[in-house]
């Protein structure tokens, strides 16, 4: 009975958080939800607490199956339990964990600003940028660049099946940045006019590659062929302990939306929503931990997780 109640609570709170601030990353909403869950949890042991947090993360992944939610949840768990919890009293331990949780949340809400600060210097005056689909981090970077009085123009891919690219184009028009929407199939055509490519990421994997909206891999391959730099902007809570060897190796639970996974029997009929871009195609990654090369991502992951 307890579990059912908590399940509904989690889902409702998560949805409420997402609706309250559409600009917030889904991982941040998930972590807020987990923090609330922690405050209300009536567990008796630390191990029990950890288990219930893992269960809660799984529930949330069932609602929104993006990579970032699961990675954010795991990192949250690591961050709060990495301290020496020597206090005898469980309630005091919990208090410490809650404080660390708040600290973690504060840190990651600043991460987008840090990333924007690092990346906007790479946008030179008069640059033509190509980007893919709707990414709030990329939007933030361009906002910062526009605020620095840089003149640049943007090509956005339409990004079917949900036409998220048009949303991005709208947001950019509001910033008075000249923007053109191109077909997904026109990436090779437009690349010769473009100076650099910037995309966001849903997850950054151990090899230094990224998981992002379908169509990113194609864009990366074309930019490698044209020798254009391919930049990725991602916050550090998106680093995940996956190591896909190829497209087939990405787990199904990330490829399709959560409702699709539950309702549809034969997944081979469905279109995957994400693809994997290997690290050999990526020039640099901008994260709140700094500007990293793909091989340095593993270094950071080892530091974060081990």
């Amino acid at each position: 009975i307890n579990k059912k109640f908590f399940f509904f609570f989690l889902v409702e709170y998560f949805r409420a958080q997402m609706m309250k601030d559409p600009d917030m990353a889904s991982a941040v909403a998930a972590i807020r939800t987990l923090l609330e869950f922690l405050k209300r949890d009536k567990g008796e042991t630390i191990l029990g607490l950890r288990e219930s947090l893992t269960w809660a993360t799984d529930c949330l992944t069932g609602v929104d199956s993006s990579v970032a939610v699961s990675s954010g949840g795991e990192l949250f768990l690591r961050f709060i339990s990495l301290t020496s919890l020597e206090h005898q009293d469980l309630s005091r331990c919990k208090k410490v964990m809650e404080e660390r949780g708040e600290l973690f949340l504060e840190k990651i809400s600043m991460s987008r600003t840090k990333v924007a600060k690092l990346c906007h210097t790479f946008i030179k005056d008069g640059a033509k940028i190509l980007t893919h689909s709707y990414s709030r981090v990329v939007l933030r970077v361009m906002e910062k660049a526009a605020a620095e009085k840089k003149r640049f123009s943007v090509y956005v891919t339409e990004s079917q099946p949900d036409s998220a690219g048009r949303q991005m184009a709208e947001a950019l028009r509001k910033l008075n940045v000249p923007v053109t929407v191109v077909l997904d199939a026109a990436v090779g055509y437009v690349l010769e006019k473009v100076d650099l490519v910037i995309v966001g990421a849903e997850g950054v994997v151990e090899s230094g590659g990224i998981i992002n909206k379908i169509g990113t891999y194609q864009m990366a391959l074309c930019s490698k062929a044209h020798n254009k730099p391919f930049y990725v902007v991602a916050e550090s809570f998106k680093f995940v302990r996956l190591y896909p060897l190829n497209q087939q190796d990405v787990p199904d639970k990330f490829k399709y939306k959560a409702d699709t996974l539950k309702t549809v029997q034969n997944l081979s009929e469905e279109h995957p929503m994400i693809d994997y871009t290997p690290p050999s195609l990526i020039t640099l990654l901008f994260t709140d931990l700094g500007v990293l090369t793909p091989s340095a991502v593993s270094d950071e992951l080892i530091k974060l997780y081990l």
Binding site: E206, S207, G208, R241, Y243, L245, N246, D249, P279, S280, S295, S298, D299, I302, L306
Partner: protein, 535 residues
């Protein structure tokens, strides 16, 4: 540079004469110092003469072999040349703060000047040709403060076989330890003339007296097993080594007035030299030996002998358990996630770890089939084939020449490793880099499985610098009653090359599975750093 040398010479001579004229005032210490300096002078002169004779020898060799021979030795040496040059600049600067407590200031000055001249000559010699045997030289300077001497890395002996000085030093060392020196066999291909090449028909044990009082019989047996190829494969060799050391420790008694922690380490040194002579040590064996030596020297002096011995035996057991057995289990667990149903897996040669992984995956009911690639002269793939077929795994067997033919069918390549180098290169059985290259061309993912105790601090970018040459007679094969290469030694322009290892760049390797998890090939130095911090 030569100028300062010449001005140093006459000044120094005056200095000595001056000291001689003041002769009656010289104290005993000063006399000793003088003697030492004269000895050093003599040594440097001898070295110069030897180097000169070496140059003339090298020039006399046929031209074609000379140029490729000097190429590889220059490459490892040119990085050292710039390190020698900075030593030249600070040393003349140190001439001015002469030690104030010496009564004869001229002597210290003269010493410093002479040193400067020696380094100048050394640096100019290095700059001219790229000599190989530099280790003896850095041994001399004492007084200049240590921060002026950058770390000069010495080349290990086993890659300097064409340098007679180094061979002399090795012979002296082995004589001291009473171990026979193994002589090289047959004509060596010029690109690899800096490596040892031994014959299997002349094992080192034939030159030992029986019973050998210097070397423990378990070690003698182990050496024979190594040199005849009875124990092969890096895990097998390390485990055999550790078991032999356990026997040695069990039979060891501390002599009176000696400490176990120091004496046992000294006892192990001749054994290690002996094993090295039988077959060059592998990286995993090197790490195991380092660990044992550390454990031994950490034994507190007040520990009783029985207690110390049982502690050491426990340490060794734990090392084998943790680093080899449990690591294999952890690696198998991670690899099973990467093996999906319907996979076609390619393996090369016989790696105990890869075989273990495939058997474990088969136990867990994964449906896959294996293609075993094999190569002459060792034909190790047959052993792997035997082990896999025994478990019931469906296998195909090809030789390495057919690898580009079958690769379109393959979905993954699993390779074992002999060692993982600090710059991310994978050192493994010869032929591995070829398979990785072809797999990359076909876009097939390459996975390397390696335990962390095989990670080594060395850096290598090619397979020439440090390798092992096996018995060239292994390449001789009799087909239809005819042995074509039987008299290869009589043909002066013919050389047989039987390489054992090669080095694969990290761009060809997609994933390394270790007991710490799955890491990209470029993260090996991170793991080494983390390990060193732990220890």
């Amino acid at each position: 540079m030569a100028d300062s040398g010449e001005t140093g010479g006459p000044v120094k001579k005056d200095g000595i004469q001056q000291a001689k004229t003041e002769g009656k005032e010289l104290t005993k210490e000063e006399k000793q110092r003088l003697r030492k300096e004269k000895k050093q002078q003599k040594k440097s002169k001898e070295k110069k003469d030897e180097k000169a004779s070496q140059e003339s020898e090298k020039e006399k060799k046929p031209v074609s072999s000379a140029s490729p021979a000097s190429q590889p030795p220059t490459q490892p040496i040119t990085p050292k040349a710039p390190s020698a040059v900075p030593t030249l600049v600070p040393v003349p600067a140190s001439e001015t703060p002469a030690p104030a407590d010496k009564p004869a200031k001229s002597k210290a000055e003269m010493k410093a000047e002479r040193r400067a001249r020696q380094e100048a000559e050394r640096a100019s010699k290095q700059g001219k040709k790229g000599e190989v045997g530099q280790q003896a030289a850095p041994g001399k300077p004492k007084a200049p403060p240590s921060e002026l001497q950058p770390v000069v890395k010495r080349l290990p002996e086993h890659v300097q076989v064409d340098n007679p000085e180094v061979l002399k030093k090795l012979a002296k060392k082995l004589e001291r330890q009473q171990i026979p020196l193994r002589s090289d066999y047959g004509y060596k291909v010029s690109l690899f003339s800096h490596l040892h090449q031994y014959s299997r028909k002349a094992p080192l044990t034939q030159q030992l007296s029986i019973p050998s009082t210097v070397i423990h019989p378990a070690i003698v047996r182990l050496g024979l097993q190594y040199s005849q190829g009875i124990v092969a494969g890096s895990n097998a060799r390390s485990v055999a080594l550790l078991h032999a050391f356990k026997q040695v420790i069990r039979d060891y008694t501390t002599p009176p007035n000696e400490e176990l922690s120091r004496d046992l380490v000294n006892k192990l040194k001749p054994y290690i030299s002996f094993l090295n002579q039988c077959r060059p040590l592998s990286a995993s064996m090197g790490n195991a030996i380092k660990y044992i030596k550390k454990e031994i020297s950490n034994i507190p002096s007040q520990c009783k002998e029985e207690e110390a011995k049982s502690k050491l035996l426990n340490c060794i057991d734990r090392y084998i358990d943790e680093k080899i057995n449990l690591a294999a289990k952890a690696i198998a667990k991670s690899s099973i996630e990467k093996i999906s149903d319907g996979d076609v897996i390619l393996v090369y040669g016989c790696s105990s770890l890869v075989n273990h992984i495939l058997c474990e995956a088969f136990e867990k009911n994964r449906k896959f089939r294996v293609i075993v690639v094999d190569s002459r002269p060792r034909l190790e793939g047959r052993e792997a084939l035997r082990r896999l077929v025994q478990r019931g795994i469906s296998c195909t067997y090809v030789l390495i020449s057919a690898v580009s033919y079958i690769l379109p069918e393959v979905s993954k390549v699993f390779l074992g490793a002999h060692a993982l180098l600090a710059n991310g290169y994978v050192m493994s059985r010869v032929g591995t880099s070829q398979i990785a290259l072809v797999a990359k061309a076909f876009n097939v993912p390459v996975l390397v499985c390696c335990e962390t105790y095989k990670f080594c601090e060395r850096v290598q970018t090619d397979s020439f610098v440090s390798n092992e040459l096996d018995d060239p007679d292994d390449l001789i094969v009799t087909r239809k009653g005819k042995t074509q290469l039987e008299h290869w030694q009589e043909v002066p322009s013919l050389g047989l090359l039987n390489l054992v290892y090669d080095v694969t760049p990290p761009d060809f390797v997609d994933l390394v599975i270790t007991d710490l998890g799955m890491i990209p090939c470029t993260s090996v130095p991170v793991v080494l750093r983390v390990k060193n911090v732990d220890q």
